[in-house]
Amino acid sequence: MHSSGISIWFFIGVLLTIYGALIFGYGLFEFAAHHTASVELANLHAPVWWGGLLLALGLFYDFRFRPGRNH
């Protein structure tokens, strides 16, 4: 799948990076502004750690499968 240009894993990395950044960013905003969404277990700040996890995973895939790199 890599011989034909951009790897699917790179596309996945880009999507996860964008989603992770958006959700993580929103989670930080909630945390800093002491504003929590009206959902259960909001005190666990899931957007921060789940968004952070998506972001980290996305960045890893972006780097590992970036176009032009020999996988």
Binding site: I8, L41, A46
Partner: protein
């Protein structure tokens, strides 16, 4: 997508879905602007992928078979993902709420043995003969007759199912988010048409892998937070037992899979263990996972035989894990979902919801969206909804890409234009993709006018898959099977399947013969009917074959066990060997069934 696997019992009558439109004035979820951005980004991404891959889908091999250059991981994830539609996610979560962990049978015994059998035993034959499709294999093995019966039924039913799913998904979006039906149908189908017509199977596979990651990213958080709230699995079981003893939940064994399978009347699904093991675990599951071209096409796109064999094995691990994001949220819903006044929320059947409009009732099928709304705030909810939309779109993409290949290779080429250029067939493939989407849209609107069609379409599909399994298995493992045997086996097996269904429809007491008990319910009837049709197909194929002249063994090279010299595979370390991972998959499969016995 719903495909040809039986719909979940909680999904019940698909025909009842339109009734949802009448009583749901208020959508379940309200999206934040961040959620809308998350959904919009997904659409931009899939169209981008379609345009990017357009330049890599110029030959028929590239367009229909993705150039046969998929790695085992991509083929394996796509293989599982093509079956993982949003309606399954919601339907099976609802079934888990209603029936408990019994619903996991459809993910474990109803999938894993068949997936491993495909990889280890059948794939070498599919792969070595270089067929483009399952009807294509039948053509090589049995000739044009059996292939055409299979191709026409598959092509016809695939686009019909695609339309039914499209309508059902639009209804779900209407109920969950309040979206307009026409908007959901048009936007999603245009996006699918664009990326599949542009990039062919490669684009469909890319998006299926993308969807798979999204489903985990969007849905995994729900059971994690649910388990945190209940204090883990043991905490959940304690709360469940407490609620049952307090009379808040209907009594039953919600956390064991096999203990209540001794008699049809002992479990709420009305199923006996023989139906689960032989009907679901063999006739239905093997029929779907080893002969339905929709899923087999993904594995045929692998770049070598080892990858083609490894792909279903990789897929089997993910399939075993899916109950964590589908069944577990349904179970957790039993103890965590609350009414606004704090009392335990009781979900009910769709018929009850429909009978009490305005009462604020929710159906079993809504358990997953309700769990998402309970735990997921802005952004995360958008991700969860995107996972549902992606599930629907990749299911539809799977349908139209498989339709396009079968139409072009197994109907158009042999019947209409035999010796055209490769470029011509790629063009036909692109246009047939669009045709498939258009027919799907028309079907969706037809269903909107006459909802009863939905159930019939669902059942129609089930008539074809088990007889197909019968002829493929006999043809692949018995050199003596003949062209006439395959044709008549397929035809009579399918007719018998339809006949058994009609018999019970006309005379419900016939259930005692078809499903071996009057206590059997619809799901059990489907399983036994599938089993009977495989047996009849086996018998007819064998008897007719014995009465007709066999093909010379030399002609069966690459098609039949015992007549094929399989290519030698290069030795690899044990951790890269497909047999090693198959053994691990079997151990995990057995361990799960024993743990939840």
């Amino acid at each position: 997508m719903l495909g040809s696997m039986p719909a979940s019992p909680a999904a019940g009558s698909l025909a009842s879905l339109p009734a949802l439109l009448l009583e749901s004035a208020e959508p379940l979820a309200r999206l934040h602007s961040l959620d809308v951005v998350v959904i919009a980004i997904y659409f931009v991404m899939v169209i981008w992928i379609g345009f990017y891959l357009k330049g890599q889908s110029n030959t028929s091999e590239e367009f229909f078979m993705a150039g046969r250059e998929m790695t085992a991981w991509i083929a394996g994830l796509s293989f599982v993902s093509a079956n993982l539609g949003s309606l399954e996610l919601m339907g099976w979560a609802g079934s888990a709420y209603q029936y408990g962990i019994l619903a996991a049978h459809w993910y474990w015994v109803g999938a894993i043995p068949a997936m491993l059998f495909l990889g280890m035993v059948m794939m070498p034959f599919y792969y070595v003969c270089k067929t483009h499709s399952v009807p294509g294999y039948l053509k090589l093995r049995y000739g044009q007759g059996a292939s055409l019966v299979s191709a026409i039924s598959f092509a016809f039913m695939t686009v019909l199912m695609s339309g039914v799913n499209m309508f059902a998904m639009a209804v779900v979006m209407r109920v969950v988010l309040g979206w307009n039906l026409h908007f959901s149908i048009i936007v999603s189908s245009l996006a699918v048409a664009a990326y599949v017509a542009l990039g062919g199977l490669r684009s469909a596979i890319f998006n299926e892998v993308l969807q798979f990651m999204l489903i985990w990213g969007g849905a995994l958080l729900v059971p994690i937070l649910g388990l945190v709230e209940t204090g883990g699995w043991n905490g959940f079981k304690a709360r469940l037992a407490q609620n049952i003893s307090a009379g808040l939940i209907a009594p039953g064994d919600y956390t064991h899979m096999w203990r209540s399978m001794g008699h049809f009347a002992d479990n709420p699904m009305g199923i006996h263990w023989t139906g689960i093991v032989f009907g679901l675990g063999f006739a239905i599951s093997f029929g779907y996972w080893t002969t339905d071209f929709l899923v087999v096409q993904r594995v045929l796109a692998a770049h070598n035989l080892r990858s083609a064999r490894m792909a279903p094995v990789i897929g089997s691990f993910f399939k075993m894990a899916i109950p964590f994001i589908v069944i577990l949220p349904g179970l957790l819903g039993l103890v965590v979902l609350r009414n606004p006044n704090g009392s335990l929320l009781h979900l009910v059947g769709q018929d009850v919801v429909t009978a009490h409009p305005g009462a604020g009732l929710h159906s079993y099928n809504e358990v997953l969206p309700l769990m998402m709304v309970r735990y997921l705030g802005p952004g995360l909810l958008g991700l969860g909804i995107t996972a549902l939309i992606a599930g629907f779109m990749s299911g539809m993409a799977g349908n139209v890409s498989a339709f396009s290949a079968v139409w072009t290779y197994d109907i158009y080429q042999p019947l209409l234009v035999k010796n055209a250029s490769d470029e011509h067939y790629v063009k036909v493939g692109r246009w047939s993709t669009i045709l498939g989407v258009v027919v799907s849209i028309l079907t969706a609107y037809m269903v909107m006018q006459a909802a009863g069609i939905m159930d019939y379409v669902q059942e129609l599909f089930s008539f074809f898959i088990s007889p197909l399994l019968g002829v493929v298995l006999v043809g692949m493992f018995w050199k003596r099977a003949t062209k006439s045997g395959g044709f008549w086996g397929l035809l009579i097996g399918t007719t018998a399947s339809i006949g058994l269904w009609a018999w019970v429809k006309i005379d419900p007491s016939a259930l005692r013969y078809v499903a071996l008990s009057t206590d059997a319910k619809t799901m059990a009837e489907n399983m036994y009917r599938a089993l009977w049709s495989v047996i009849i197909t086996f018998l007819v194929t064998c008897i007719v074959s014995l009465l007709t002249a066999p093909r010379p063994v030399a002609e069966l090279d690459g098609l039949v066990y015992g007549a094929t010299k399989l290519p030698e595979e290069e030795p690899v370390p044990f951790y890269k060997n497909e047999w090693f991972w198959t053994a691990i998959a079997i151990v995990v499969f057995l361990a799960l069934n024993i743990y939840f016995w």
